[in-house]
Amino acid sequence: MAKAERPLSPHLQIYRWYLTMALSIAHRVTGSAMAIGLLLFTWWLLALASGPEAFATVQSVMRSWLGLLVLFGYTFVLFFHMGNGVRHLVWDVGYGFDPRTAYHSGVAVLIFAGVMTVVTWLIVGSAG
């Protein structure tokens, strides 16, 4: 069957980006990224189970500058998804839907993720 030439709703790219839109798609992107990151978690656990040499390899990779960068990014992504997930749970029970509240809760999630990431890495850094 030929596709009907119906008028389409306005293309996504003509919308002005709002914080709430950006955070909404970021929730999916961060969730998907962490799902892929579970491979790292699995690698770490399997190495720990299989012996000191395998574990030393994982630790040297994770403590390289690229490894630390990935772990730092993962920390921010984790706390963002965690904070935004709680924001979603609050929405699920019916609160916080008006635009002002949704905007402010979004800002709060970003601040939470930033602060938690910095605090985590300050503690990790001070412990060596």
Partner: protein
Amino acid sequence: MQLRTTIGRIRGLGSAREGTGHWKAQRLTAISNLFLVLWFVFSAMALTGGGYAEYRAWIASPITASLLILLIVSVFYHARLGVQVVIEDYVHHEGVRVASIAALTLAVFGLAVACIVAVLMISLGS
């Protein structure tokens, strides 16, 4: 006015024929993830600077092993549910979509089992 048939209403499965099971499981695992992941992050922070022996000793404790297995089940299940929705929304070809979700399910089950076996091996000292 009630447009739905009686049998449709009592089954409560809606047009997607799967009801609210997926949605509820996603929320339930979100809440369990919140506690288990916070516990894991704080524990990992406390072990910073430790090596092979310190991490093995940590997991050897039955409480750690139990919480870690709960975390693995909760996190991998939540990941499966979330990525499934992403696939359902963006993969339009039905065959590719079904195959992708099947591959996702198998991959997540495989990784989760590997992780649980690793925890058990460490905790049972082999």
